[in-house]
């Protein structure tokens, strides 16, 4: 090291100058914002629950089961998604459909979101376009493992996300959840 560097002083002062310039610059921008002047804010923070950045349209969020026009699931219980699922989180019980033109219908369609890895393979595997991951819902949580199992009825009630990935349907609450 050169003699000047050994004393650290010059480098310390240049570093302090940099951080102080940042502080006062940001402080000025904060004050300008507080006084109602337009311009960039002093922070890049997005205050999450109140402010959100737009989600990408290809974002994989909470699954939903697509409905037919009469409201019944489009799913034909072919078990493709259950088979392809790497996390084994889909559980389907098939049943006969009253309409003879449609082969089957799921009696149960449970997704254990505690296991799901959001790979989207179920969406790709589905031959009927019956399951999609476009609800925009990301904030689902539970105090128990059982509370993370979402049933057919809950998934059928969901709607696709609006522009910017804003969810249009409320986060489904499992029936057995107490809180």
């Amino acid at each position: 090291m050169r003699l000047g560097q050994r004393f650290y002083l010059r480098e310390v002062l240049s570093g302090l100058g940099l951080t102080a310039a940042h502080f006062f610059g940001n402080m000025g921008r904060h004050l300008a914002r507080a006084l109602g002047r337009p311009g960039p804010g002093g922070a890049v923070t997005i205050q999450y629950p109140e402010e959100r950045r737009p989600y990408s349209p290809r974002l994989r969020s909470l699954h939903r089961l697509v409905r037919r026009e009469d409201g019944s699931p489009r799913c034909v219980a072919c078990m493709m998604c259950e088979t392809v699922c790497p996390a084994h989180c889909i559980y389907i019980v098939a049943d006969e459909h009253p309409n003879p033109e449609i082969e089957k219908v799921p009696a149960r369609f449970d997704i254990d979101l505690g296991k799901c890895v959001f790979c989207g393979y179920c969406v790709e595997a589905c031959p009927e376009d019956a399951i999609r991951m476009d609800t925009g819902i990301l904030e689902f949580s539970s105090y128990s493992r059982g509370g993370m199992i979402y049933t057919k009825e809950m998934l059928l009630a969901l709607e696709p996300a609006g522009p910017g990935g804003v969810p249009t349907s409320p986060v489904p609450i499992p029936a057995d959840r107490t809180v």
């Binding site: 004393f7 570093g15 302090l16 951080t19 940042h22 002093g42 922070a43 923070t45």
Partner: protein
């Protein structure tokens, strides 16, 4: 008699509340200042009845959290010393401020009240004695935890603080030589004179080298970044690994209180203490002849205000350093203390002596 007691109590209470509140507020300052420096917003979520006040309730929330947490004590810890250690740390950090004057002598109803918690004619030594005694709390914590890592952390802290305090003690000798007193009140009064009839004779102008040395060693004595290898709570294990709850909080608080003390000491020794430039007991007297007469109360208020502002500015600067510099390696800190600060302090004493010899004859 009662009035004297009341005045003494008031002096102590002012200093206590000033230091304690400022120390508590420093958690907020630290969060917010670092956030603004780093283009962030900082903690702003704690609210009472929906009021957030820029996150000012976070220190309160912290205190409640610390007090309600489990107070864990390891099975093999020394029960008495383990509990005593954080109290020792906070106590000595708190009492160290006592001899720092926050204003000139106040005259009310025929009484002369020195604005200083304790009037000591060796105030400088007292402050550093109290700061040095704070090391005992740290060493006690390291030893009493019954944890080898804590013990090593305590030894690191002791070694660092001893090397810092040597440099602190040596660097202020120059200041004491210039102002000719160990009484902090006299040192501050000495800084009210004018240098060449124009500039206020503040320590930073008469002793610039000592200012840098004292500040560096003072930051080391507070055990904060860039000299936080005794603690390093996030990666290297320090002396308070085994502490939890409010005991841990007290160690953190002792660091903040020491920051306030170092800021107060720097203000008193180098930034003119409660002196306002060109303000004398009768009012402003400017070197170009103009004069503004002010009543005694206004002068006292200006002086106390100047002291508070200077301390706050100094704390801002210390925080700026803390959020700018990376941590020194341990050997670098030791080399800086013993081979950098200490010899330069001695050099400063020699240079000051020669300068005094040349000017005073």
């Amino acid at each position: 008699m009662m009035a004297d007691l009341g005045i003494a109590f008031g002096r102590v209470a002012f200093v206590m509340l000033f230091v304690l509140n400022l120390g508590g507020l420093l958690t907020w300052v630290e969060r917010k200042q670092s956030a603004i420096m780093q283009d962030r917003i900082g903690a702003n979520r704690a609210s009472i009845l929906g009021f957030r006040f820029f996150g000012l309730f976070h220190p309160l929330a912290d205190a409640i959290k610390m007090l309600t947490k489990e107070d864990f004590r390891p099975a093999r810890a020394d029960r008495f010393l383990f509990t005593l250690a954080p109290f020792v740390s906070v106590f000595f950090a708190l009492v160290a401020f006592a001899s720092i004057p926050f204003g000139d002598t106040l005259r009310i109803a025929g009484r002369a009240i020195p604005l200083q918690a304790v009037t000591l004619n060796v105030g400088v030594l007292y402050v550093f004695a109290m700061l040095s005694l704070g090391v005992y709390g740290v060493m006690m914590a390291g030893w009493a935890s019954g944890n080898n890592y804590a013990l090593i952390g305590g030894q690191r802290a002791a070694a660092l603080m001893i090397s810092a305090e040597i440099a602190i003690g040596a660097s202020i000798i120059g200041v004491v030589m210039v102002y000719g007193s160990l009484n902090l009140m006299d040192i501050v009064r000495g800084q009210g004179q004018l240098l060449w009839g124009v500039l206020p004779k503040w320590g930073i102008l008469t002793q610039p080298l000592a200012f840098i040395l004292f500040l560096t060693a003072g930051i080391a004595a507070t055990k904060r970044i860039p000299f936080d290898m005794p603690e390093g709570e996030s990666e290297i294990i320090g002396y308070f690994v085994e502490y939890s709850g409010m005991k841990f909080g007290m160690f953190a608080m002792a660091d903040f209180l020491e920051t306030v003390v170092i800021a107060g000491m720097t203000t008193s020794l180098f930034l003119g203490g409660w002196q306002v430039p060109y303000l004398e007991a009768s009012g402003f007297v400017f070197p170009w002849g103009a004069a503004v007469a002010l009543p005694h109360g206004v002068v006292a208020l200006l002086q106390v205000g100047a002291f508070v502002i200077k301390v706050c500015a100094m704390i801002f600067f210390l925080m700026l350093i803390r959020w700018t510099l990376p941590r020194f390696r341990y050997d670098q800190a030791m080399r800086l203390g013993w081979l950098g600060l200490f010899p330069l302090s001695i050099l400063n004493v020699v240079l000051t002596g020669l300068a005094l010899l040349a000017t005073r004859g």
